[in-house]
Amino acid sequence: MSSLAQSSDQTPRAPLHAVDQSTPQSAIIAFELQRAANRRRDAIVSSLGLAIGLGLVVWAFHASGFSSNTFGQDSLEKAGQFIFRMDPELEGDLLFEDRTTKGSLAHWFARWPQWREALIETIEMAVVATALSAFFGLLAALASARTTMPIFWVRWTTKRLLEAIRTFPDLILAILLVSLFGLGPFAGLVTLTISGSASLGRFFGEVLENIDKRPREAMRASGAGPLQQIRFGIIPQTSPVLTSMTFLRFETCIASATTLGIVGAGGIGEELNRALTYNQIESYLAILILIIGLIVAADLASGVLRARLSRERMAR
């Protein structure tokens, strides 16, 4: 991309010290020679880079099926139709009629009781998974931080394991666990717990590695054992940060929980799937609105709590 064309000002160059710089004229000649050499090299590098980059992009779009026959008039039409069918056809004057009247809000949200249950299930999955993630994440962090785990190979193994789990997309984990545990929220709960533990384990571990060592030293000096040192010398000073990270994870968890249902792992995503299977496209839009609302609400709630937490920490 164009960054490669910029590379002439990116790398430090061979210095001009070696060349005669005694007069302005000789300095100019030395500079022009060096500049010409640099430009020759840059021209090769940047035209090669540009060719490779452009080639990759063109290839990527072609290989993804962006050619005129699969992606043309027809698909635009289909897209238009789909969007058109998402319209719930609300009528201004019937807006607040009961659910039997087509064009009213109640008709559009006729399956609300079912959706409400699914929303609650989503929230419950996220809450329980976040709590479990915090617990297992803390264990993993204690096992992977230099300050709390003296044995090298335990730290190393834990860190590599956490890395491997984080590489895994939630959804792929979810389909594996659905085939293991069957349809339903249990598979979703385990998915969210595994990925949450790996993520929190890493962040918690970073916090534990960057603590103030003095309180713990004082504990040790007064004869506290290793577990007491961790309980009273490390946990108190890190707990506000860890709590705040847990709330952040809750936001991610909610967003993830809304989608897991699509592969049958519980929550509002299942309703989304159902709406598509039975071709209830206007329900689809309603569920989408609920999902966005849930995610935004979770972000706001967690944001408020985190702000309060950091205020309390400041006040101390």
Binding site: L56, I120, P185, L189
Partner: protein, 281 residues
């Protein structure tokens, strides 16, 4: 110890002096409430553990399969799917970045400075960011049919507001002094942008795009599960036949590819961005 002395000592060193019951309860209250909420959620979830009774039998087959990864007879298909996933990740990143570029510039305080308009734009980005890529994928599959095109659009649309927000923040946080110096030397607005702002933001933008490309390799693999092309489609298919050995092969392949992509990309980022780190504003 008498009561006042105890209170004084508590005020000085609350962690050491054993506080009175009511104070301890007050401090423990948030933890108790949170625990209760979690327990209530757990009970209400109705996990139906009876149905899991026969899971150990499946688990046995699964572990056995996962421990003996093999491509089966589908090596060529798997590799083709992997290449398709990579193509989706590249095309999706390019689409997301090209959408995010104008959006990011529009979201910058230096471009649209009116606070109401600025906050309004940012709010819209935040709303759009709430839609996960998977949900985009399902909508788009409806529109353009099953296949990688849907995945590319899903990645592009889901990430554009994300990247736009970060682009805008970078633009708002650059060093303004070189630009002012060039304006003071009689350069035009465009020239000042070209010589003072572009050299600052371009490496950051390219680095950020590479970072999102790394994430998108994972995302592209996941999107296949709902039919948006690539390795995920194969994965879902083989899992349907309980071919755990082939699933294991694909997963290992994915992990290796992700590791390689991360390594190359983070080297490139290091080279382009120098010591600047990606910050999540």
């Amino acid at each position: 110890m008498n009561q006042t002395l105890r209170q004084d000592a508590y005020a000085i060193a609350p962690d050491i002096v054993r506080p009175r019951l009511i104070e301890r309860a007050k401090r423990l209250a948030p933890a108790v409430v949170v625990t209760l909420i979690v327990l209530l959620c757990l009970i209400d979830l109705d996990l139906d553990l009876d149905r899991l009774a026969n899971w150990s039998e499946i688990a046995g087959r699964m572990v056995a399969g996962l421990l003996s990864p093999t491509p089966g007879d589908n090596l060529e298909e798997i590799l083709a799917a992997l290449i398709e996933t990579m193509a989706m990740a590249i095309a999706g990143t390019v689409l997301a970045v090209s959408l995010a570029l104008p959006l990011g510039i529009a979201g910058s305080r230096t471009v649209i400075s009116h606070p109401l308009a600025h906050n309004g734009i940012r709010f819209v980005y935040d709303l759009l960011r709430a839609i996960p890529a998977l949900i985009w994928a399902i909508i788009i599959i409806r529109a353009v049919g099953l296949g990688p095109v849907a995945g590319v659009f899903a990645i592009g649309l889901a990430e554009a507001p994300y990247i736009a927000k970060l682009f805008a923040e970078y633009l708002d946080n650059i060093d303004a002094k070189p630009r002012n110096a060039l304006i003071a030397s009689g350069a035009s607005q465009f020239q000042a942008f070209r010589f003072a702002i572009l050299p600052q933001i371009l490496p950051q933008y390219v680095g950020l795009s590479l970072f999102f490309f790394e994430l998108n390799v994972r995302a592209a693999a996941a999107l296949g599960v709902v039919g948006a092309g690539g390795l995920g489609v194969m994965l879902e298919d083989r899992l349907g036949y309980a071919a755990f050995d082939e699933v294991a092969f694909m997963i290992i392949l994915l992990l290796v590819i992700v590791a390689i992509v991360d390594m190359i990309s983070s080297r490139l980022r290091q080279k382009i961005m120098g010591n600047d780190q990606i910050s999540w504003g």
